[in-house]
């Protein structure tokens, strides 16, 4: 194991021109849809790359399969479902919205709400009573001290 790969291992080695010219469909609209879908389908044998930019054999087969399904008249969602039936949700870079991923998709809103509440509390504490103009005596003193300090600096020569 150790001897196998003790180096910074980047498994992208084959990440060259992945989509091959002979795969491309004649209908540019269908081809665009195919590219769009395959950009968000994860290659199952590679580490973390879409089949669109992988040159693994299975990735190519899947790209061809997607195009075949599109030619057969499937909708984009039907094509994705076709792949999910065979490989599971794992192949979707965009996780479906379902109970197992509610937490994931709702997390940004939850975080924003939490942060919003915290920020609101900070604002209330700082601005609610007393008004924004009121500075404590201590603050006034510090501001005066700092201002004096900066002015002092400005008059000093660089070393």
């Amino acid at each position: 194991m150790r001897g196998l790969l003790a180096t910074l291992l980047i498994v992208l080695a084959g990440m060259a021109a992945a989509v091959e010219p002979d795969e491309i469909l004649d209908d540019p609209l269908l081809e665009a849809r195919a590219r769009e879908i395959s950009r968000d389908i994860r290659c199952v044998v590679c580490q973390n790359e879409p089949i669109d930019s992988s040159n693994a054999g299975v990735a190519r087969d899947l790209r061809l399969l997607i195009r075949e399904r599109l030619l057969a008249g499937d909708s984009d969602d039907a094509v994705r479902q076709y792949l999910v039936d065979r490989y599971g949700d794992y192949v979707l870079f965009k996780p479906p919205f379902k109970p197992a991923t509610y937490a994931l998709w709702l997390a940004p809103f939850g975080l924003l709400a939490l942060g919003g509440v915290a920020a609101g509390m900070a604002l209330r504490r700082r601005g609610g009573r007393g008004g924004a103009e009121a500075l404590s005596a201590e603050d006034e003193a510090r501001v005066a001290e700092l201002v004096a300090r900066y002015d002092g600096d400005a008059n000093r020569k660089d070393i």
């Binding site: 299975v58 087969d61 399969l65 065979r86 490989y87 599971g88 794992y90 915290a118 509390m121």
Partner: protein
């Protein structure tokens, strides 16, 4: 309120830490992908036999034959398959399960030569030259093996050659469980 807020970061870190400890479990393989087929009926496919090999082809209908069978995806160009071949041949006779093959993306003449050289333990072999049936099974490479129970439901899957003791034991266990269910 503030007292509670300042405890939040450490709480989050503790929870994260718990997940990390779990994730470092040496038995966990971060790269393993569970099969979407487990507990589902076998996919619909119908494969012709390999030209010149005298066993019949393989189709979905052959897989609900009243007893558990092992479906092995192999190819002559696949090096680990060679090592696995010997083990599977032995296991099939020892354990007495039917062994079916899917010959993945192989030229018929290569597959024929390979089987002639190593022997043919398969009762049926479907020739999947295009690789389409492989995709229907959701394989990510060869070799890969699926245990299908008496009703044609996929109950177990193994990625890579069934060559290690561990892999063989896993197969025996899955087989015993499938037979038990079929018996009752």
């Amino acid at each position: 309120m503030q007292r509670i807020l300042v405890l939040l970061p450490i709480l989050v870190v503790l929870i994260l830490g718990g997940f990390f400890v779990w994730g470092l479990n040496p038995d966990r393989d971060p790269n393993a992908i569970p099969s979407a087929l487990i507990s589902k009926p076998v996919p619909a496919f119908d494969l012709a036999p390999i030209d010149g090999v005298d066993v019949p082809g393989l189709a979905s209908g052959d897989l609900a034959g009243g007893e558990p069978v092992l479906v092995n995806v192999f190819a002559s160009w696949c090096v680990p398959c060679r090592a696995e071949h010997k083990v599977l041949t032995r296991l099939a006779t020892q354990e007495g399960f039917p062994l079916f093959g899917i010959n993945y993306k192989d030229k018929p003449e290569d597959a024929k030569a390979w089987l002639e050289e190593l022997g043919n333990p398969y009762l049926r072999i479907g020739s999947d030259e295009s690789g389409r049936a492989g995709l229907d099974w959701g394989i990510s490479g060869v070799p890969e093996s699926f245990l299908v129970d008496a009703t044609g439901t996929v109950v177990w899957r193994y990625v890579g050659p069934i060559a290690t003791e561990q892999a063989q034991d896993d197969l025996r266990q899955a087989l015993a469980a499938a037979r038990e269910r079929a018996g009752t």
